[in-house]
Amino acid sequence: MTEAFWSVVVVFNWVVLGYFVVLSLSYLAMTALSFGALRHYLVRLRSFDLDDFFATGGAPPVTLIAPAYDEEATCVESVRSLLTLEYPEHEILVVNDGSTDGTLERLGEAFNLRPAPRLPTARLETEPIRQVYQSRRHPNLWVVDKENGGKADALNAGLNHCWTPLFCAIDTDTLLERDALTRIVRPFAEDSRTVAAGGIIRIANGCRVRHGQVEEVRLPDNLLAEFQVLEYLRAFLAGRMGWDALNAPLVISGAFGMFRRSTVVAAGGYATDTVGEDMELVVRLHRHCRERGEEYRIPFVPDPVAWTECPETLGVLGRQRDRWQRGLFQSLTRHWRMLLNPRYGRVGLVAFPYFFLLEMLGPVIEALGYGAFLLTVLSGRAEPLYVIGFLMVAVVLGVVLSVAAVGLEELTFRRYPRLRDVLRLFWLSVVENFGYRQISAWWRMKGTISALRGREGWGEMVRKGFSAEEDAASIGATPPG
């Protein structure tokens, strides 16, 4: 290879080093902000009596909208779990999005559904509705059966049939803790400017699930799932809490978020031409409110918990990360006008550039950077000092950030009761930097490139399902094939 080629590699190596420095400093700043924010939040939590608030009639009615597509393995348990939520007034609206399996039949058998009238309150465009059902046994349970149109289309169909001022968008395979609704509704109760709020998603793999509730929290047996536990802790406790402290959140997880119905409808509902409809909606809400000069808030609330199953095989995980990256790309490029635009305040000046440069384009630099680094080292052309510097920034700082996230978890919610699980998380903070982080960057790079090439679709997701009285070992079992 020519000297010109190696010169380019050198320059690229410096770019990569610079990228890691900027990325790590950003994460460190977020983590530092999160420490303070979480501490204040916990003190505030103790000073406000939620039970008294609800007893005083302060709880607005809420509709849980749960799109379902080919969910026959999990739908009944999930709905049962939703029916046991502790909240004064809530409806459950399952949207059967043209399932090809027995999802509707299973729901019909389990909950004694009958056709019932339910007039739409909005006219968001969706695929045709076949029938609306209400449970005879649980009058607050409704099922909207429609032709297949995708998750966003199903959410819009749910939104069209939502009669409450607030709605909570969840995934049918998500298990909400019993007090999750009471906790996530709190920002709406405290501040009427709140238009959306996000809760925390935790990994259920490895946990003991009984009657739709996580009874015992444990780390998964599967290594990939363990890495994802760590990732989620970083993403939510350090990442989202930090953005909340800056009042510039750009993401609410599609698995668990609460929204003000009228604002989402006014903003046009969920976009059906993106795979990242959850993030795209939040970005659009920012635009919608700011462009109209409306005061608004979109807080992250760290105590309401939703448990979800994460992928345990490289194939499924890779497809998920590819999709998330494509969703990120679509959400940001669609609203590129917000980038560095002072009209959008901190969202446009800080959050958007961060996500655009470091989260969207960054994985390309990172993935190629690992490759360039390896190439340089294997060719014997790398200076020892550069190698040390690269490893320090790319690996050590990564360890620091993960340790900090585990520390945040331990200082605040402490959901892992076994000390050995906490110690294991510390160990994973080191191990994930030698393989998992690199393959994640590769998947995300592929996602960005796919998005640039205009690829659509979700890919196949494999669901195992939760079932009552299943023990920790079987929850973590790898599916056959």
Partner: protein
């Protein structure tokens, strides 16, 4: 010099060394933090066990005191001064679940420890102040009423709302004017919570609420919350001030709340006023007017309610449907539901919800 070392080698080396040292320091800090976390876990686990034991002891103490209230002082001696704040926290959790004589016993148990809590009410930390007011407001009234009232003016809205909530006690209307005077601070709060909070005081709150509703100089939002509280209380004497508000029609949300109030407590003479609002430009006012018409109106108003079913807003139409049910005209609604009208499904839905289908 190799092919990869740019001209400014010393600066690059310095930067790399600095970077590596910084990362190394951070790594050591991370290791230290991880170790601290483990120590913290051990300590927290030990604290939790200790706390469990303490609470088990306190539970026995509280139950004994409820059984023998005359022994409160003797039983209280079993709590050490250093446990005072934790004990009041525990008593707060108990107080939330009890009323009457048992609550008085718990208040007696807490009494000697409340001066320490008063000190916390001046803490720089907002959460601590709010917690202190929560405790004083639950366990220390009326003795510490001055401190709780003072918290209504706390710079933090959280502390102020905690104080307001604690001052709205059943059958204790004396603090209500002070709460109403600061209600504007809670503008961003859920108005249902606020109106229910005020209504919690009971019928004794009605005079102050009526005065607020009638006072045009008061913030319309505060008047609205007062109207909603009066509706919860079903205060008959509020009908005339509510009618005046509807006539004024100065603020849509206030007018809507006044119409809702009229629906609860209005008299026959108010029907004309309500009727005159069913074609209002504002859908919130139309909704409330139709519901009120269903409750107050006569036979001649059924046709107006049927007309309301065709309102451009589905929310208004739903109120009209409910108005027909309130008026005892479910047959009319059923006939409408069986018709070819575009809103027949809505009528069907309302009947279905009311278990009439």
């Amino acid at each position: 010099m190799g092919p990869f070392v740019p001209p400014d080698g010393d600066l690059r080396t310095t930067a790399l060394v600095a970077l590596s040292l910084a990362a190394g320091v951070l790594f050591l800090l991370a290791v230290g933090f991880a170790a601290y976390t483990v120590v913290l876990r051990r300590r927290n686990d030990a604290r939790a066990i200790r706390r469990e034991r303490l609470e088990a002891r306190w539970e026995e103490l509280v139950l004994a005191a409820m059984d023998r209230p005359e022994k409160v002082e003797e039983l209280r001696a079993g709590v050490e001064a250093s446990e005072g704040l934790a004990f009041t926290d525990y008593l707060l959790s108990v107080a939330r679940r009890i009323r009457g004589r048992e609550l008085e016993v718990v208040e007696d148990l807490a009494a000697p420890f409340l001066p320490t809590v008063v000190e916390e009410a001046d803490d720089a930390e907002v959460g601590r102040r709010a917690r202190a007011i929560q405790v004083l407001g639950t366990l220390g009234l009326p003795e510490y009423e001055a401190e709780v009232r003072a918290a209504l003016d706390d710079p933090s809205p959280l502390v102020a709302i905690v104080a307001a909530r604690r001052l709205c006690r059943p059958d204790e209307p004396d603090s209500l004017p002070a709460v109403l005077a600061t209600l504007h601070r809670f503008r961003t709060w859920n108005h249902h919570f606020l109106s229910n909070m005020l209504a919690d005081v009971g019928s004794g709150a009605a005079p102050a609420l009526r005065r607020t509703l009638a006072d045009r100089g008061v913030d319309p939002w505060v008047r609205r919350v007062s109207a909603e509280a009066l509706a919860v209380l079903a205060d008959l004497e509020a009908a005339d001030p509510a009618a005046d508000v509807v006539r004024d029609d100065s603020d849509p949300e206030l007018t809507a709340a006044a119409l809702e109030l009229l629906g609860e407590v209005g008299r026959g003479e108010h029907v004309g006023l309500v009727r005159g609002r069913i074609d209002h430009d504002d859908s919130r006012i139309r909704s409330r007017a139709l519901t009120a018409l269903g409750k107050l109106g006569g036979e001649e108003d059924r046709a107006l309610l049927i007309r309301g079913l065709a309102d451009e807003s589905p929310w208004v139409a739903k109120h009209a449907a409910h108005g027909l049910l309130e008026a005892g005209s479910s047959q009319l609604l059923e006939d409408f539901a069986d018709s070819e009208h575009s809103r027949s499904e809505l009528a069907n839905q309302v009947l279905h919800e009311a278990d009439r289908r």
